[in-house]
Each structure stands twice: as structure tokens, then as C-alpha cells.
């Protein structure tokens, strides 16, 4: 009789362990699924933010060309401001919700970093993170120039490259 009772207790313990194990497995699978969903929605949101920032940056007074009555106002980037911000990036870096900002002026295959002679590339901001996904957009870059007492907007085409953490 005692043996039979022991056998039944063993049976129950085995069942409880099996049921618990089953729930743990289901839980692990579900957590894995949730983790993947959260990760992918985080990546989607990061991507959305980067693409959105490509437009926002033109309206940021730290970058945007805002010369009054200019056709370039609100559309183009200000080359002087970019030169200043990239030289004092620690001062402004708090404002950037992305991991890197680069600006290539013109379409020459060789990038010559600015400041420097005939430079065509600004590494405006880099958070130092690795494995970034980069998004780019064509932009116009302008500066105010004066010739023979006549000032005008000198603009050229370039590429703005934004990096977000993968």
C-alpha cells in the first residue's frame, strides 16, 4: 500500500515538473517572440526618426540657410553654420537625435575632409558608435558671397548622410 502511494506521489511530481517545464518553454518562446517584435519596432522607429531628421535638419537654425528673401530659405543648408557646428560639435551634439551626421559637397568620388584646401566633406558629428545604418538625402548647400558690393547666395548640391544605431 505504501509503495503504491509512493508511486502515485512520484507520478504527480513528474507531472508537476513536466507541466512547469512546458510553461517555462512556452514562456521562453513567447519572450523570444516579444523581444524580436520589440527590436524590430525599435529599429523601425529609429529608421523613421532618421528619415524624419533628414527633413528636420534643414529647419534647425543651427544648420538651415535662413537668409531673408532668399529662395534657398528653409530648403538649403548653410555652409558657414556647418563649418562652425562641426568645429564646435561638443557644444551642439546634445541636439542631434542621431548617431552621425556627414555632409558631402558636390559629387567627387574622392572625399577631402574640411577644413582644408579644396575640401568637399564635413564629418559634422559622430557619436563614436559602430555598426550604424546610414540614410542619405540630396541637399543644397549655400553661403552668402559678396562681389563688387553685390551680395548673392552661392549654392551647390550635396549629400546629407545620417547614421542611426543598428
Amino acid at each position: 500500500m505504501v509503495k503504491k502511494a509512493q508511486y502515485r506521489i512520484q507520478q504527480m511530481v513528474f507531472m508537476i515538473v513536466a507541466v512547469s517545464f512546458f510553461f517555462i518553454l512556452v514562456g521562453v518562446f513567447f519572450l523570444g517572440y516579444q523581444y524580436r517584435t520589440t527590436k524590430s519596432s525599435f529599429e523601425d522607429l529609429q529608421k523613421e526618426q532618421a528619415i524624419s531628421f533628414l527633413n528636420v535638419i534643414r529647419n534647425m537654425p543651427e544648420f538651415g540657410y535662413s537668409s531673408k528673401d532668399s529662395y534657398a530659405k528653409g530648403i538649403c543648408l548653410d555652409l558657414d553654420k556647418i563649418a562652425i557646428v562641426s568645429s564646435e560639435v561638443n557644444k551642439f551634439s546634445e541636439l542631434f537625435p542621431v548617431a552621425s551626421i556627414e555632409l558631402a559637397i558636390g559629387f567627387k568620388p574622392k572625399r577631402v575632409p574640411c577644413p582644408g584646401n579644396e575640401c568637399n566633406y564635413y564629418d559634422v558629428y559622430s557619436s563614436g558608435q559602430e555598426g550604424l545604418i546610414k540614410y542619405d538625402s540630396f541637399v543644397c548647400i549655400c553661403k552668402k558671397v559678396s562681389e563688387n558690393s553685390y551680395s548673392y547666395d552661392k549654392c551647390e548640391l550635396g549629400k546629407l548622410i545620417i547614421g542611426v544605431k543598428e
Partner: protein
């Protein structure tokens, strides 16, 4: 003897099954509740991030302002916490209402936006943006509210502004204003007006030598006085006192940094014979706004700032090579 042992056997099994069963049930219920809370926390956190991204296209840019409606399926509270220090930050979190309780999800830090709101919940939020200009454009003010406002006898330019928002919860001069709406009255320091409707908020204009006396002044909300300049008036109407002061200091800090940036731009432009004589004024402006951003009270700071901003703006407009 046989009967006794059988009884004992039955009781032990039953007790064991009851204990094990209830332990599994309790664990399952606890797990489900925790898991449900976790899912809610996750979705509220995602919602906060989505809201912060949604604010991007809401920024006015070079337009005067923009407005829109944000609708939720269930009662949601947008919590907005402001932290000072450097450019500062707005920490946005969302909490959906479950059985009358609002438990917020993880907050999203927004450093390059200035979000003014008050802590109320709702299914529908009005969002509108206005430029903040003080000599030059500094940023956009993003105003978020689920309250209804009734503006009583506003000056004509403010009336036009409010009408241009085309928002149902911003009404002018008793135009379908319901009893639950917050009445915003406009008072002049020169001559007091009498209102039939009771005022919940009063805007006092104190710019005596200006075209529009509401260019700067203060907004009275209960016992609090919120000093404003230009479009900050709307932010003062919509926002909580502490949030308003914190965001204004963040804005002044950014103004100071932008003034320094423009001062350096003067040097760069001069190096290619594009002259504008604004450097001393911009350096002074940078100092003045930095001091104001660090001061505890904003009471009298806006008047000298506003005057210098006007001087800088008109000098820039007259210059051969303008800075902005």
C-alpha cells in the same frame, strides 16, 4: 485497520494536489498579471516614441505655424517632464487609462524640441506649433492640449492667429464656447476691461511703445505669473507653470548658443569680404540670454532681451550681407 490506512492515503493525495494545484494557479495568475503589465508598459513606451517622432512634421519650419489633431483609441495621458542643464530635455511618456489608473511607460527624451502641455488625459489632443523668434528664429514651440479654451476679446492679430489654427477647442469671443472651456481674457496695463465671463487665465500686455502691446507681458494663472515674449504667450496659456519656466530657460540657452554661432558667422563672412557690423551686439545678446537662462526668475529679463533683439533684427535687415 484497512479502512484507516485507505483514509490516510486519500487525504495525503488530496492535500498534495490542492497545494501543488494552487501553487501553479497562483504562479500562472501572477505571471499573467505581470506579463500584461509588461505588454502595457511596452506599448505605452512605443507610443511615447511615436508621439515624439510625430512632432517632427508638426514643427512650423519657416511657416508661421501648424496645427493638427492627435486621436487615441482610449483615454491617454501625455506626460511631459522638463529637465534643465545645457540644452535640457523634454521627457515624454504616455499612459493609457486602465480602470481609472494611469501608469506611464518608459519616457523618451526629446532634446531639440520645446513641448508645452499640461497634465491632463484625453482621447483627443490639439497640437499646434508656433515659431519662437527673438531677433532670429530659435525654434518651434510645440503646444499640446486636450483642454478647450475660449479667448475673450483678444487683439485682432491674436484673434486671426487663433482662427488660423482651425482647432475645435480654440474659440474666440464666446463663439460656441461651452461652460467647461477655460476662459482666457486679455487685459491691458493701460486700461482695464470688464468681462461678463469669468476669467480663468488673464493675459496682461505690458509693451507700452509697441504696435502690439501684447508683444511681451505676463500671463496670470491662479497665483502664478508666467512672463512671456512674442509667441510664448500661447505656451504660457497652455502649459503648467514649472514646465513653462523650464522650457523657456532651455530656449534662452539655445538662443545664447545661436547668437554665438551667428557671431562666428560674422567672422567667416568678413573673411570673404561680406561685411555686417553685428558682432558686439550678438556677443552681448549671447551673454544676456545665457544669464537669463541661468537665473531663477524671469521677471524682468525679457524687456532688455526684447529691446536688444529688435536692434539686432533691424541691423541685420539693413546690412549688406545679412546673417539670417
Amino acid at each position: 485497520m484497512r479502512n484507516i490506512s485507505k483514509k490516510a492515503e486519500f487525504n495525503f493525495e488530496l492535500i498534495f494536489a490542492i497545494f501543488a494545484g494552487s501553487a501553479i494557479l497562483i504562479l500562472a495568475i501572477y505571471g499573467a498579471v505581470k506579463f500584461g503589465g509588461g505588454i502595457k508598459y511596452q506599448s505605452d513606451s512605443e507610443l511615447a516614441k511615436q508621439i515624439s517622432i510625430m512632432f517632427d512634421p508638426m514643427q512650423a519650419g519657416f511657416a508661421e505655424g501648424r496645427s493638427s489633431i492627435l486621436k487615441f483609441n482610449q483615454e491617454t495621458r501625455i506626460n511631459n517632464n522638463c529637465l534643465k542643464g545645457g540644452f535640457g530635455t523634454n521627457e515624454i511618456s504616455a499612459s493609457t487609462n486602465i480602470k481609472g489608473k494611469y501608469t506611464p511607460g518608459a519616457a523618451t527624451s526629446v532634446k531639440n524640441k520645446y513641448i508645452f502641455s499640461s497634465a491632463e488625459g484625453g482621447k483627443e489632443y490639439a497640437i499646434f506649433s508656433k515659431q519662437f523668434e527673438i531677433g532670429f528664429k530659435v525654434s518651434d514651440l510645440l503646444l499640446v492640449t486636450s483642454n478647450s479654451y475660449c479667448f475673450v476679446n483678444p487683439p485682432s492679430d491674436i484673434e486671426l492667429d487663433i482662427k488660423s489654427f482651425s482647432l475645435d477647442n480654440f474659440k474666440v469671443n464666446n463663439q460656441n464656447c461651452d461652460n467647461s472651456s477655460i476662459n482666457v481674457c486679455f487685459q491691458s496695463t493701460k486700461n482695464r476691461r470688464n468681462y461678463i465671463r469669468s476669467c480663468n487665465i488673464t493675459v496682461w500686455g505690458s509693451c507700452t511703445n509697441c504696435d502690439n502691446e501684447y508683444k511681451y507681458g505676463y500671463v496670470e494663472k491662479g497665483s502664478n505669473r508666467l512672463n512671456y515674449i512674442n509667441n510664448l504667450m500661447y505656451a504660457a496659456v497652455v502649459s503648467d507653470y514649472l514646465l513653462y519656466n523650464c522650457n523657456v530657460k532651455r530656449l534662452l540657452y539655445r538662443t545664447s548658443n545661436l547668437a554665438s554661432l551667428y557671431s562666428k558667422k560674422v567672422e567667416l563672412m568678413q573673411s570673404r569680404s561680406c561685411f555686417i557690423d553685428l558682432k558686439p551686439e550678438l556677443d552681448n545678446f549671447a551673454n544676456l540670454t545665457m544669464i537669463a537662462s541661468e537665473s531663477t526668475k524671469l521677471d524682468s529679463a525679457f524687456i532688455p532681451i526684447s529691446m536688444l533683439a529688435e536692434e539686432i533684427k533691424s541691423k541685420n535687415n539693413l546690412g549688406e550681407c545679412e546673417l539670417w
